[in-house]
Symmetry: C2
Subunit: 457 residues, 2 copies
């Protein structure tokens, strides 16, 4: 679809959606997004120009179906996939992409750290994906120096970043916000630095006593991103790894730097979103969202969870969906999913499914709470189907129709039960949905009550 | 344990904890509860006297380990069990009680509607349960008139209510708040009346054009409850059955009546908690909690969920855990769990487990957000174990140790991996918890930074 759209842009020195928006131009991507979101295209353009919305759309990702991330549009969900050194191959990764898209992932991050030719896997994923692909180039950069952190140079980073950009990656996590002067601030943390990429840069800075090369070479990255329209996803290397460490000085110091970097990228019309925590008690989530808006001039916020308690490994899709729903309600633009295997192991297909549905729930609940026009329509339709015992329609409208049907059919598989006025939960005599209050009976009652003022409400 | 405690109270005309509290007496139950909650016993007494806390403890439930429900104490979780006409027997129900207690249920409601001798099942459950047992007597009352709603009389209700009280039920859901004049208010709802008990009373009132017999005979119920110390759990028959119907006139009209009934019970020193919704968008939950406090003079609030969206059957333990966490944070005293089978079928053991853990998460997250003293201690201990790669300790501290271990061992079962500095999620080279920032290295860095003012934070 985008082949023709991008053909005419090739060779221009800046091909970002933000650049066009600021020129007052409406791109095909903006039109497409406006239709998907049921929003005026002028609003999309204005939000992109303002930096409050991004359309992550690398000109080399031509099979992309453009989408947007920003407070003006529906809350989005990201799913992480990726091969690890011990497992996975291209076919498995492509299967995960399909699975993620099937269950509603709005973007997919390829976090591969090994398990084959990383470039090849990434290329296959991009070619197979209708949704934006994000990457974290620092992993491959480290691989390129055989895991020796101290050997990393700025050129190593820039080389891999440009490679990803050329391949069509739509957004990249860039850990440019963690500065050498932030490191002493983690001293009193329970879990130190828990960003994989951030940890690598911290080690580098501790070894060399030099400033973060991604920070010192940020302008070089901007130049690369301009050419392909890669969006920054500014990494929060100092995000808290447990509720104890939430909202601490280290996290907030980095956030301030992320705000400065946001505005620096915007000077070059490069799109930016900002990553956020992590592990945060419920009562600190609103503060975190507002603070990010303030420090980062309302660039879209993209949070991981956050988990609202640390005591439920095996159920962290739930501990974090609670935090994610709140974050979305307060205005977070995209939620990065967490699977039940978080902290415990590599997620399998069923984990991806459970993680994604938990996050679709969180994002949708946030849209309802924010009163986005039409957000509750599907809920209402499902409720009507439920009240009318139209089981098949109820399943269809579910976030995971197969699961809903499977659970129902576990006890009542026969076709006849698809119109039955009960399920096995309460049985045929006690289904509360059977309490149909007849309109005529109500009218009659109202007449009666009118004559009996003692009963008047 | 309680046999001696209650022996001396027998024959007194009022044996409620509230009665004793208002006399300034400290019961054994209050002492026990104070110890469990790590709160001063005087506070427990004052809260019970004030009606802001209940200790549901029927004098005939002698093997009970007393607990309390109220805003001053930790947020509690209830699990529903119960035989249905098509399934279950005593052994199965007792197994469910054990399961519920194992996964942390603070109270258990027996919602049996059939499947054997209801009295026998209930008695067995009470005798097996260290946690308070709640019931909904209207189900058995309806059974006693062979399902013919119109044949129900006030005496039928009172007979069953007293039967349950005699057996040792600690709290009973009494649907006294739904009044005949409320019924016309449900006309514009999508899902009408979705309380099983409330629906029965609505049908009765529509048929007879008479006031709710549980309302007109509320004082008779009070007299029964005084004798055994049964707590009211005032049912919210008009709770919304979908997000569309949330916080509507019908719900709020009934809530006002529930407040009046609360104060009526308090006049006789009978303990009360008030049931709440149901299905509520996130942005209306705080309103619902505050409104209940206002209308019901701060009697403990006991909510079912609420579900924050209707589109995820099969995952309603998650849609509702989000709402429950918020409700708990805003001050709800007890959360009634919802299982993944909600709206679809009868939960099995695995569903009970998943529902309960989701709710333990919600209640705990609420305790953290409310800054209850020590609420985060377990989180911090687990985070430290995680950071130190002490996998066994991490599992031990988990809400569901078996599940955490199972997930971890799925890919790395060997014993040696229980001290490995990674799991299969990120593999041996990329575990973020490996980024240990050495204290000496930090001190060295600080000295360096002190000499290089350009890097000063």
């Amino acid at each position: 679809m985008r082949i023709e759209w991008v053909a005419k842009r090739r060779g221009q020195s800046n091909v970002t959606q933000m650049y066009y928006a600021r020129q007052g131009l409406l791109t095909e991507e903006m039109h497409y997004v406006a239709q998907r979101e049921n929003l005026p295209v002028e609003l999309i353009k204005d939000e992109v120009a303002r930096g409050r919305m991004i359309i992550p759309a690398n000109i080399n990702h031509t099979n992309l179906e453009p989408m947007c991330i920003g407070i003006a549009s529906k809350c989005k969900v990201n799913a992480n996939i990726g091969a690890s050194p011990n497992s996975s191959n291209i076919d498995e990764e492509l299967e995960k992409v399909n699975l993620a898209v099937k269950y509603g992932a709005d973007t997919v991050m390829d976090l591969s750290t090994g398990g084959g030719n990383l470039d090849e896997i990434r290329s296959a994923i991009i070619n197979a994906s209708p949704v934006p692909i994000g990457t974290v180039p620092v992993y491959q950069t480290l691989e390129s120096v055989h895991g020796k952190v101290e050997n990393l140079t700025a050129d190593d980073f820039l080389h891999i970043i440009e490679k990803h950009a050329q391949q069509g990656v739509d957004y990249q996590t860039i850990h440019a916000g963690i500065l050498i002067e932030h490191l002493p601030l983690v001293r009193n943390r329970l879990t130190g630095i828990v960003s994989r990429g951030g940890g690598i840069l911290a080690k580098w800075m501790l070894h060399h006593h030099k400033q973060n090369p991604l920070y010192t070479h940020f302008d070089d990255i901007i130049e690369i991103f301009k050419k392909y329209d890669v969006s920054f996803s500014l990494g929060d290397s100092l995000r808290p790894g447990c509720t104890h460490d939430a909202s601490d000085q280290a996290q907030l110091a980095e956030l301030k730097t992320l705000g400065q970097l946001t505005r620096r990228a915007w000077e070059h019309d490069v799109q930016v979103m900002v990553e956020g925590p992590g592990h945060v008690p419920m009562d600190q989530i609103e503060f975190n969202v507002r603070k990010q808006m303030e420090e980062c001039s309302e660039a879209p916020f993209y949070v991981l969870g956050p988990l609202v308690t640390d005591i439920a490994p095996g159920y962290d899709h739930i501990t974090s969906a609670i935090g994610a729903a709140l974050a979305g309600w307060y205005g977070t633009a995209m939620l990065c999913y967490v699977t039940p295997k978080e902290h415990l192991g590599l997620p399998d297909a069923e984990d991806v499914r459970n993680g994604l549905i938990a996050y679709k729930i969180a994002a949708h609940a946030a849209d309802i709470a924010r009163h986005r026009p039409g957000a509750r329509d599907r809920d209402d339709q499902l409720s009507i189907a439920r009240y009318n015992f139209d089981w098949n329609r109820q399943f269809e409208l579910s976030l995971d129709p197969e699961r809903a049907r499977e659970y129902h059919d576990e006890t009542l598989p026969a076709d006849i039960y698809k119109t039955a006025e009960f399920c096995s939960m309460c049985g045929p005599k006690f289904c509360p949905m059977q309490t149909k209050v007849d309109a005529d009976a109500l009218t009659e009652l109202e007449k009666f009550l009118a004559k009996e003022p003692a009963h008047k409400g």
